[in-house]
């Protein structure tokens, strides 16, 4: 099972280290992680995506919750959550109409075009990890030069 965890943590040095160390020493895996300060500068929010069966995910949540620097830890239901990841693709342009094709593809996924060169183009795509993977598959035939991804940021919908 793919799980999205959201953590409200103390905004202090060393917390990210402790969180990632916990995953290591408990034999869990981090699929992606993103961190940013919240509206209250005393706290940061971490969004971690991970894989595991139900029991494992429950253990991860409990172990994270046990950490003294975590204020709140939740396993989000992806159907009741807005979650997005930002990705940037650098794609090769080989043929004359590649640029137009990539443009079309980017449009279809709601992506933005940056830095158009003679032999490459950059696409910024904010979407779910699934959509990003789908885009990646379709971009592969052009030749992907580099990809950078931020990891997921997520918030539960109100009333959910």
């Amino acid at each position: 099972m793919w799980a999205i965890l959201t953590l409200l943590v103390e905004n202090k040095p060393g917390i990210l280290f402790k969180v990632t160390h916990l995953f290591r020493s408990r034999n869990f895996n981090i699929d992606s992680i993103s961190v940013g300060v919240t509206d209250n500068p005393e706290y940061s929010r971490m969004t971690i995506t991970t894989y595991g069966d139900e029991k494992q995910v429950e253990q991860i949540v409990k172990q994270l919750d046990k950490m003294i620097d975590t204020i709140e830890v939740k396993h989000l239901d992806e159907h009741k959550t807005v979650y997005r990841e930002l990705s940037i693709f650098k794609i090769k342009l080989s043929n004359a109409n590649d640029s137009m094709e990539v443009n079309k593809l980017a449009n279809a996924y709601g992506g933005k075009i940056h830095d158009v060169r003679k032999d490459s183009i950059m696409v910024e795509l904010t979407a779910t990890p699934d959509q990003i993977r789908a885009f990646e598959e379709l971009a592969k035939p052009f030749g992907i030069i580099e990809v950078a991804r931020t990891g997921v940021a997520a918030l539960q919908r109100s009333g959910a």
Binding site: E10, F17, K18, L22, I68
Partner: protein, 565 residues
Amino acid sequence: MNKMETMTGARALMVAMEKEGVKEVFGLPGGANLPMYDEFARCNIRHILVRHEQSAAHMADGFGRVSRKPGVCFATSGPGATNILTGIATAQADSSPMIAVTGQVPVAMIGKDAFQESDIIGMANPAVKYAFQPRSPDEIPMVVRKGFYIAETGRPGPVLIDIPKDVQQKEASMIFPDEFKIRGYHPWTTPDIANVERAIEMLLGAERPIILAGGGTIISSAFAELQSIAELLMIPVVTTFKGKGAFPENHPLSLGPIGMHGHAEANKMMTEADCVLAIGTRFSDRSVGTFEAFEKRLKIIHMDVDPAEIGKNQTTSVAVVGDVRASLRIMVKMLMQKAVKRTEENTWIKHVKETKEYWKENLKLHPGEMGAAKILRKLREVLPHKSIVTTEVGQHQMWASLFYDVIQPGTFFSSTGLGTMGWGFPAAIGAKVARPDVPVVDIAGDGSFSMTENSLATAVLEDIPVIVFLLNNFSLGMVAQWQRTFYNRRMIGVDQGKCPDYVKLAESYGAQGIRAQSMDELDKAIKTALKSDVATVIDIPIDPEEDVLPFVAPGTSLADMILPS
């Protein structure tokens, strides 16, 4: 708000520790903690010098387990700090309250590979409950207050306070807080009454109920509550090895520890039970064998203060989160209200008692005069019930589990989770500092004792007369047993020879050394040691070939005990 006072960070540390009630600190100085050491001259805290920082940590650990207040150890930066790591990890594995204070290089030098700099916060991270590194002196009073609170509340554990040298030296105006808040820390959960109710129903409905008391029972001193429940419901009690002595082992309902080296009757009854009330235990592989086999056909009621323990290794039917003493009190009260009191022995209890009787008669023991069972039963016979016993790690530890009955609950302590050889002797010293009024005995093996035997210097110079009860098989016996059992008797790296002579060793430190080669000599030796005001090592040569049995091989179930042939 308390009034402000100007002082150095080092002074503030001492004042704050005095406010926490600290009277003794175990440690060893060096460059980076000298400002703190200098303060010992100006405060009422006694410094107990060790010969190796690992021992200081074990002493603090022993002190903490016995007094249930954090023991404190001091070490300098770099090698001093890394030397206490094993002690910290040992305390963490066994949920023991401890404060470790290390010196650190000055703030401006951190990260510059300074002399004796080590990132002890980073290294210790997975082995501590929490770690602090105050960067300015005025943080120290709050750090100490929070540190002690974290170490001793909820599930106890070690807290590291790493103080850069300039933070010790600089002055600041200090406020010593009474009130504070740690937003992400909620150590005590109030037990859910409805779940206690369900637990009672489940126990009353069970045909073959059993109680499994773990280390948490001892940590919370829930002895009277446990006994009330066992007696009211007439349920037999097994323990984990860490929970040994949570329940008087001479009680008719007591079956002793389960597990890899559990009592035969305890393992038998555990595998036959249909419902277990598990109190303050984390279901370690050493106690339950394989997780799958253990929970098969068994309804588990789990009481634990740490929510993360619920469902970690076993599937539970009912969970009661909270301090077990509080949970058990609610249970006792409910049983009283319901006027539940069983007086008739049912078939299960009769079967339990018969099984116990059978194994008492039929467990084959070493035939010699100096067999392990005879030696430990002799110790039990001579020692007053209030005596505190610690152990090292190995066969002698398991023999202690099998043959030394704990009669007064909470008087038996061992390094169980990490299994740290060399723990028992310094821990005994720490225990004796906490309880100078009772005899303290370390049941030791020669290999383990070798690891921290230089603590004899501390015992002698600081006047801490503990007894080392050394079952000397001249080998790393537990490993030797595995080599005999699983490696076709290829004995590699286990022979310790007759080296050193432990009587002479003791004497060279100014301690008392006695060799006991017969039951008569042993009887006299224990009595002499009990009367002595200096630490005593009783060296008891035993048969290097004696095995600890029964034995549940790793990865097998409690039903598959290897028994003496």
